[in-house]
């Protein structure tokens, strides 16, 4: 009677979901390579490096947004420290990229440039094995997960929730940022890691490498969505939202919320770390400002703008906000913060379900016509 897991995973997406994923995958795997590599730059359909980098970056952000939505939208836990896990994934992978530079750095040393600059004679112990891609890939998954697990275990066990939890996560990422700013921590201090040359012995700036990274990001996003979709439609997902809505009831029917929250929390951190690891080779730099409080809160606004509690919402939100950001920072840099600030206020005041909610409200509004006005009047009166 039991349906195999793979089939259930496949059924997580409905036909529309699979169609959409197929289109995205086809774009990333077929259209992008052709349009970037084969078409000459003067062809109007040619995709520029700038475009590939920007969209690749946003694809990584979208993974983070889905991860955030998993714990915030479904679990009711607002983290203001998710930038930390993203950055940790990026730093872990950055170590590998630094080792790949080899002796091509400005000091022609086996050590990364910043270590030579600090007059270090050998690598710190935690850099051991960082020249192995597999080991670093393991680090990307394990280190942020471990930190998330330990932190989450103690926080959830003490029943820290709501804004308290948000503030504590904010302090966590802030403390980590201060730590990474120090040169002695061994991660390049202020400047972080940059000037990467190679990845798996291929040039990191080569068009082919970019296309592959882009495709990987797109596939990772589809995978994240599939996993998230499976989770939220499973019994686990129902318990998670039940904890969000009435935690004490969940406890009194015999579930321990600690483990349910911790699972979502740790998984979310791991997804962020994967996104971070894909992000760093595409943008070519990672530094402690990725851990800043502001960055982590911005993740929340992607989710809020798109619509939390839905899975497509965060993806839409991540794209909208970040496209707006790159447009503003080029055209009107001084107005970006005005726009972002207003967005925070407007999204919370007028878009409780984000643009996805707005869309479905508009559609039902067209169907129901007059009823909406009545409901709105009631809402205003309450």
């Amino acid at each position: 009677m039991r349906t195999p897991l793979i089939v259930r995973l496949g059924r997580s997406f409905d036909s529309r979901g699979w169609l959409l994923s197929g289109l995205v995958a086809a774009f990333a795997l077929i259209a992008v390579p052709i349009m970037h590599l084969l078409l000459p730059p003067e062809n109007p359909l040619h995709l520029s490096t700038w475009f590939i980098t920007l969209i690749g970056k946003i694809l990584c952000y979208a993974i983070v947004a889905v991860a955030m939505d998993l714990i915030w939208g479904y679990g009711g836990i607002l983290s203001l420290g998710h930038g930390l896990f993203f950055a940790l994934g990026g730093y872990a992978f950055g170590m590998y990229l630094m080792r790949q530079i080899g002796r091509d750095g400005s000091y022609q040393s086996d050590l990364p440039d910043f270590m030579v600059f600090l007059d270090w004679k050998e690598m710190p112990w935690f850099w051991a094995g960082s020249d192995s891609f597999l080991w670093v890939a393991l680090l990307v998954l394990v280190v942020p997960a471990l930190i998330a697990f330990v932190f989450g275990y103690f926080a959830f066990r003490s029943r820290i929730k709501g804004v308290y939890f948000s503030i504590i996560t904010q302090a966590l990422t802030y403390a980590a940022m201060l730590l990474f700013f120090r040169n002695e921590t061994g991660f390049g201090g202020n400047n972080g890691f940059t000037d990467f040359k190679r990845i798996l012995d291929h040039s990191i700036t080569a068009a082919e490498t970019r296309v592959v990274l882009f495709a990987l990001s797109a596939l990772a996003l589809i995978g994240t969505l599939l996993l998230a979709r499976y989770l939220v439609t499973s019994k686990y997902g129902r318990i998670l939202t039940a904890i969000r809505d009435a935690e004490s009831r969940v406890m009194f029917i015999g579930y321990n919320p600690l483990w349910f929250k911790l699972f979502a929390w740790t998984l979310s951190a791991m997804l962020c770390a994967i996104a971070g690891a894909l992000y760093v080779p595409q943008v070519g730099i990672i530094n402690p400002s990725e851990m800043s409080v502001a960055n982590s809160i911005e993740i929340a606004i992607w989710v809020a703008v798109g619509g939390r509690g839905t899975l497509i919402g965060p993806v839409i939100g991540a794209f909208l906000v970040n496209l707006a950001k790159s447009w503003f920072t080029v055209s009107f840099p001084e107005y970006w913060l005005f726009f972002l600030g207003t967005l925070f206020v407007v999204a919370t005041l007028y878009l409780p379900q984000g643009v996805v909610g707005l869309w479905s409200r508009l559609r039902s509004g067209v169907k129901q016509g007059g009823k909406k006005a009545i409901a709105a009047a009631k809402g205003a009166g309450a």
Binding site: M1, R2, T3, L5, R8, L231, S234, K235, Y236, R238, I239, T241, A242, D245, A246, S248, R249, V250, M251, F252, I253, G254, Y255, N256, P257, L258, W259, F260, F263
Partner: protein, 280 residues
Amino acid sequence: MNAVDSLLDARDNPDWDSGTAELGHVLKPGKLDLSHKVILYLEDITVTFDGFRALNKLSLTIDAGELRCIIGPNGAGKTTMMDVITGKTRPDEGTVFFGQTIDLTRLSEPEIAHIGVGRKFQKPTIFENHTVFENLELAMKTDKRVRHSLFAQLDAAASDRIAETLRLIRLDTHGKRLAGLLSHGQKQWLEIGMLLMQEPKLLLLDEPVAGMTDEETERTGELFLSLAGRHSLVVVEHDMAFVKQLGSKVTVLHEGSVLAEGTLEEVQADARVIEVYLGR
């Protein structure tokens, strides 16, 4: 991850390795032992909040299969008593035993729920964004660990049980509705239904008929009476007509301790009870 089981196994039950062996039965740790026909012992429970004594040396025993009503004026400590039994509040002093062997003061809320104590809150607490069906599904007695929930699939037997409970609480036509859309009385019923899905040995019901129509109240009474015997029930209620309908033993709480105990008539005739309720 199997917090409940491992904790229960490891727990050193005070009665289990000494003293009770000559009573002639084998004790299993973590299993409810009803050999003395008593399901719940509360002994000398004291709970203080910032100097205010919510419970004051409260002692109470509930027999297996018994239906017990608890009445008392506001602030008598009824809700605090339930908090102590279900592990939400730890007593400053005193012991709470579930059967002969299980010390409830050492278990967490989910653990207590898992070994068979169900609780209904004063204000109906259900999962408003889930359907009625899902509410019951989540409450159903099963493996409640994360690992299980990740891969759980509903089998036919379970679906049948949920359907059965839906009929019992008269929500069989509402299975697919969001629970938040139910009426107040229906929410009360749903919560009772969730309790039943847990298959608890002991049910704690805090004002279960508040906000129900007279007809609903009467049906609830019938349901409780039919449950007694298989389950033990503790009902906290203000509605004297309902208490009368249940016709069970009544305990009167006042200022955190037991003031009187007996049938409703006996209790109502008690001079001290009259004084507490009506004043001097």
